[in-house]
């Protein structure tokens, strides 16, 4: 045999890269219209996932922008200075007035009674002539909009009654009309108009009763402004029109310098409602996690769609390789095609991200006092793009890398298919990079990176577990001895054969069901807690602002009304945490979980013995005769959130005095019992001589009826008009309404994740339809009846649905328990009937979807398929 020197290997020609790129683009461009159907599920999955995430981001941005834009209106001024239980001194008022116009607001709670016996707890807001400093107050009269000035409406009438403008709810509750008289505390008032919209409503926080607007002179006749009563004095500062943030900062600095020890809570237009901002952040964080779940579930659909695409491309890829295409060329052209469709999905998702918030605002926009400006932001669109691309790469890379290994020799085979492939180190490195990119996009765009990180970890574990479960099921199905019944044999074979639905169904349905079960159980437990458990253990009434000198008489009165009732009472003051371990409250980091305790003033108390419903977790209680330096008992869960332990010091501002106390012990508090308990309980000597009021609870016996409660409330109103009574059932109803709205939001958003699961399931069924058609045709040719085929499919889908349901129930319940017990500190129960309902519904859905996808196959005639095979 002759040997000659080998011909030089043809090397790539100069400019060849550009020509190859041009060929690649042409191939992709021509393939796109043909492949649209094949990629429709990929587009849908990406659109849904990106749309969900973008809707949350867009809504959150609009809410934040709205709060900042309307901050001045929400707050009622550029800055607000609030004192509890005392008015500002002349010096403090002067310091404020040097900076701009000042408007005073007094807020208190009281009982409003009609001239009959009905009584309702109301939130009183006493305003001055400058109110409102920002925004407009809209009122209604008897026949239409009220146009008279507020000062006229609040002035005294001929009978000496001060005018009040009330929440229209109050008219219904007390069965009165505009023009009727009302008693509030010791005073009598005339209802002159109703409130339609209040520009600074949000800055007042959650109230227990309807609003009543009156003048400063009017509130002084209520008898509610007693030393120690829970009255808030707010001073709203309006700077020169157009004052920027630097001017505001300067004004605040000058005020702080002039009266450094005022101890007031300061709000600015940039953080007009910290409570609402926190709630928005938490809610959007939750929605973002649901959107992320939809994206992850959709990722399974992406993987399936790309796998199906790659399977159909075997001949094309083999042909290109036979003509000289390198693996890189093959991989790049396939990736380009997938990314082209991903971009279509992302574009639709971005559109959904704008549309869904608008729809939400259309349904529920009147819940907010300001209009939301939903608009396109380039930065957010970039985030959506990154989400979509990183998800696509994470889930599409593996099937594309596998397709790259298709050999040109496939063209010579009768049934060409992608070869078995395990991948090499560079492939795994590329996959790792794609996953890292996805993780980075999620973490960097999350408002709470810790929660996002935990969630990603949990979701990854769930996906991995599901994949292992699917593999386990397939192995088991393979290992099980062949059943004698053909139906079972066929079904079993379908569970583990190449191209089986098992991984897709278990992954997508399993993940979607886990989320649905978890959210449903959280919802059920919250509802049970509020509707069933709490009313049984909570007191019947809370009484607030009981003057110290009246407490004994009040308690005697209650005992007389209901001898069998249990009455508890504690002294109450209001205080605000100024510093923790020497660090000012405003400088504390990493305390997001308990940041609510630092926002504004809190109820505090003092006691000789530990309160009911709590136990000492660490440290020791002070002795009954203790007279040393101020000590404080701190609620353990809050202390842990603030990084506090026994021996640490905190400073609080109470009635203008700064008290520094050492933590003597930490208490475990069972908040859900709704008994009297406080975050901070001080040693009795701490507030010696300070004015205070009492807070009391009354638990009527179980035999008490709602009519008895109402009668008691009426009697109370007559005997003690200045004492406010909160009927716990009313409060629970108010919270229940909020929880119901929250539940609705939870269900809607979990529906999105479930929709993604169903999409993916549908895609998996569609992808396998061709193979099933061929199989069904051959089986029919060999004598299988439609009934046999149908039964085997039924068994197969029932098995798959059952596996996904079991996984969803177990993991969903575990997740719900973690949230309910671990995070919310509530008792967790696993209600059987609702869980079974979800399980049965999901089970039936899997079977229906599976059968509907394959039903038409059963009726196909064999000849056309056999002719073209």
């Amino acid at each position: 045999m002759m040997h000659m020197s080998p011909a030089a290997l043809p090397s790539p020609q100069q400019g060849g890269s550009i020509r190859r790129l041009a060929l690649m683009l042409r191939l992709v461009w021509r393939e796109v219209p043909q492949s649209f159907g094949a990629f429709s599920i990929l587009i849908a999955c990406i659109a849904l996932g990106v749309g969900a995430i973008m809707a949350v981001i867009t809504l959150s941005r609009a809410l934040e922008d709205g709060l900042i834009r309307e901050g001045r209106v929400i707050l009622g001024a550029d800055a607000a200075f609030t004192l509890v239980q005392r008015e500002a001194s002349a010096e403090e008022k002067a310091a404020l007035m040097r900076q701009g116009q000042v408007s005073q607001l007094i807020q208190a709670r009281g009982m409003a009674r009609s001239l009959g016996d009905d009584a309702v707890l109301v939130e009183i807001k006493a305003v001055d002539a400058a109110y409102p400093v920002a925004g407009s107050l809209v009122m209604a009269g008897e026949t239409g909009p009220e146009t008279r000035p507020l000062a006229t409406l609040l002035a005294q009438d001929a009978q000496g009654r001060h005018g009040i403008v009330v929440d229209p709810i109050l008219l219904g509750r007390l069965n009165i009309r505009i023009g009727d008289a009302l008693r509030i505390g010791d005073g009598v008032y005339a209802v002159t108009a109703t409130l339609t919209s209040e520009p600074d409503k949000l800055s007042g926080g959650l109230g227990f009763g309807p609003r009543v607007l009156m003048s400063a002179a009017g509130i002084s006749t209520t008898g509610l402004l007693q030393p120690g009563s829970l009255t808030r004095f707010t001073y709203r500062l309006a700077l020169q029109p157009g004052a920027d943030e630097a001017t505001l900062e300067r004004a605040l600095a000058e005020i702080a310098k002039a009266v450094p020890d005022a101890g007031w809570q300061i709000g600015t237009r940039l953080r007009a409602s910290p409570n609402l901002q926190r709630q928005i952040a938490q809610f959007t964080q939750f929605l973002a996690l649901v959107g992320l779940t939809a994206l992850l579930v959709g990722g399974v659909g992406i993987a399936n769609a790309v796998q199906a695409f790659a399977d159909k491309q075997v001949l094309r890829i083999a042909t290109l390789k036979s003509l000289g295409a390198s693996r890189r060329f093959v991989f790049a052209s396939s990736l380009l095609q997938v990314c082209a469709f991903a971009l279509i999905g992302i574009s639709i998702g971005l559109g959904l991200g704008l549309l869904l918030p608008r729809l939400a605002v259309g349904f529920a926009g009147d819940l907010l006092p300001f209009a939301l400006d939903i608009r396109f932001h380039a930065q957010e669109a970039l985030v959506g793009l990154l989400y979509g691309l990183s998800t696509t790469l994470t889930f599409a890379l593996w099937p594309l890398l596998r397709a790259r290994s298709i050999e040109a020799s496939s063209l010579f085979r009768d049934d060409p298919a992608a070869p078995a492939w395990r991948g090499k180190l560079p492939d795994y490195a590329l996959m790792a990079l794609a996953i890292l990119a996805f993780v980075l996009v999620v973490l960097l765009s999350a408002s709470n990176q810790r929660i996002a990180g935990y969630y990603l970890l949990a979701a990854s574990l769930a996906l991995l577990t599901l994949r292992l479960v699917a593999s386990g099921v397939m192995r088991l199905a393979r290992a099980v001895p062949h059943p004698k019944m053909p139906v079972l044999r066929l079904a079993l074979a379908n569970l583990h054969r190449p191209g089986s639905l098992t991984p897709s169904v278990v992954l997508s349905l399993g993940l979607g069901l886990t989320l649905l079960v978890a959210l449903s159980l959280i919802d059920l437990n919250l509802t049970r807690q509020f509707r069933a458990a709490l009313p049984g253990i909570a007191p019947s009434f809370f009484f607030i602002d009981i003057p110290a000198r009246e407490m004994d008489r009040f308690e005697a009165f209650l005992k007389e009304q209901s001898p069998a009732a249990t009455i508890e009472r504690v002294p109450q003051l209001r205080g605000r945490i100024l510093s923790v371990k020497g660090v000012p409250a405003s400088d504390l980091k990493g305390v997001e979980r308990v940041s609510w305790v630092l926002d504004g003033d809190r109820g505090i108390t003092y006691a000789q013995t530990p309160p009911e419903g709590s136990s000492i977790a660490s440290g020791a209680w002070w002795g009954a005769e203790y007279r040393g330096k101020p000590l404080v008992s701190f609620a353990k869960d809050v202390a842990e959130g603030l990084g506090l332990k026994v021996g640490d010091e905190i400073s609080v501002n109470v009635l203008g005095r700064i008290i520094t106390a050492e933590i003597a012990n930490l208490r475990e508090v069972r908040w859900q019992r709704l008994g009297i308990n406080f975050v901070m309980v001080f040693s009795p000597n701490t507030f010696a001589g300070a004015p205070f009021t009492y807070l009391a609870t009354m638990a009527l016996p179980a035999s008490a009826t709602p009519e008895m409660e109402l009668k008691l409330a009426q009697a109370l109103g007559k005997a003690f008009p200045a004492i406010s009574a909160v009927r716990v059932k009313d409060a629970l109803n108010a919270v229940d309404a909020i929880v119901s709205q929250l539940s609705l939001a939870i269900r809607v958003s979990s529906g999105i994740a479930l929709l993604a699961s169903i999409l993916v399931l549908g895609a998996a069924l569609a992808a396998s339809a061709r193979a099933r058609q061929r199989e069904a045709v051959i089986l029919k040719t060999l004598g299988a009846t439609r009934a046999t085929l149908l039964k085997s499919m039924l068994v197969e889908y029932a098995a798959l649905g059952g596996i996904a349901v079991v996984f969803g129930l177990v993991c969903g319940a575990a997740g719900a328990k973690l949230v309910v017990s671990g995070l919310m500190n509530l008792d967790f129960t696993w209600p059987l009937l609702p869980s079974l309902s979800i399980a049965i519904l999901a089970f039936i859905t899997t079977i229906i979807l599976g059968l509907s996808g394959t039903w038409h196959i059963l009726g196909q005639k064999p000849a056309p398929y056999l002719r073209h095979a």
Binding site: M2, M4, L27, L320, L323, G324, E407
Partner: protein, 233 residues
């Protein structure tokens, strides 16, 4: 005078596929030399290894042992991408099922190997090849718009466009009627003669095999018989 090097030289080629109980010994110790410009017909019963031998010669299958040289280049040790490049420029393949890219026109299909090789005037050359197979007027038509015979002509043009050293054809008339198949074979041999390309042809048709310069009969993975029909080696 130094004898010319063979276009194809195989030495003791062994190839098995599958694993375990499913492992099949396809080629057993095949040794073969084909001179430049010669047409070789590969015949034999189904499963004799004809198509596999073709794939080995085209660099589409790697033997488990032995040596395969095409145009003096040893193929067995070449990395995959280098092999793809070599194949694109030195080896033309004509398939029974044509395997044209359905979303590209006839001209674009023919241009693919040239574009992959980075040839600057790929489309001009593609057009010339289509003219040579009589389809110049159909260059902007898609495969779906062409008859079977026309598609095979495009495939032949595509295979010959890079001026390959060897042309392998696997049952090129298998999907065509008799008359069209005859036309295709005439075209194939005419172009082969014109360009001095070495042709390796798998066929069940003994009449077609008789047109070749040599016929190699395979049985059970071995060369059973070689017949020189026209006095060439």
């Amino acid at each position: 005078m130094t004898p010319k090097a063979p276009a194809i030289a195989m030495q003791n080629v062994d190839l098995s596929l599958g694993s375990g109980a499913a492992r099949v010994h396809i080629l057993r110790g095949v040794t073969l030399e084909v001179a430049e410009g010669v047409a070789v017909g590969l015949v034999g019963p189904s499963g004799s290894g004809k198509s596999t031998l073709l794939m080995v010669a085209a660099g589409l299958e790697r033997p488990n042992s032995g040596s395969v040289q095409v145009a003096g280049q040893e193929l067995t040790g070449l990395p995959e991408d280098a092999l793809a490049r070599f194949r694109g420029q030195r080896i033309g393949i004509v398939f029974q099922a044509f395997h044209l890219i359905p979303t590209l026109t006839a001209e674009e299909n023919v241009a693919i190997p040239l574009e992959l090789a980075g040839v600057p005037d790929a489309f001009l050359r593609a057009r010339a090849e289509l003219e040579a197979v009589g389809l110049g007027a159909r260059r902007n038509h898609y495969p779906g718009q062409l008859s079977g015979g026309e598609q095979q002509r495009v495939a032949i043009a595509r295979a010959l466009a890079p001026r390959p050293t060897i042309l392998v054809a696997d049952e090129p008339t298998g999907n065509l009627d008799e008359a069209t198949g005859r036309d295709i074979i005439n075209l194939l041999f005419a172009l082969k003669r014109e360009r001095g390309t070495t042709l390796l042809l798998v066929t069940h048709d003994m009449g077609l095999a008789a047109l070749c310069d040599r016929v190699i009969r395979l049985k059970a993975g071995r060369i059973e018989e070689e017949t020189a029909l026209r006095g060439v080696a």
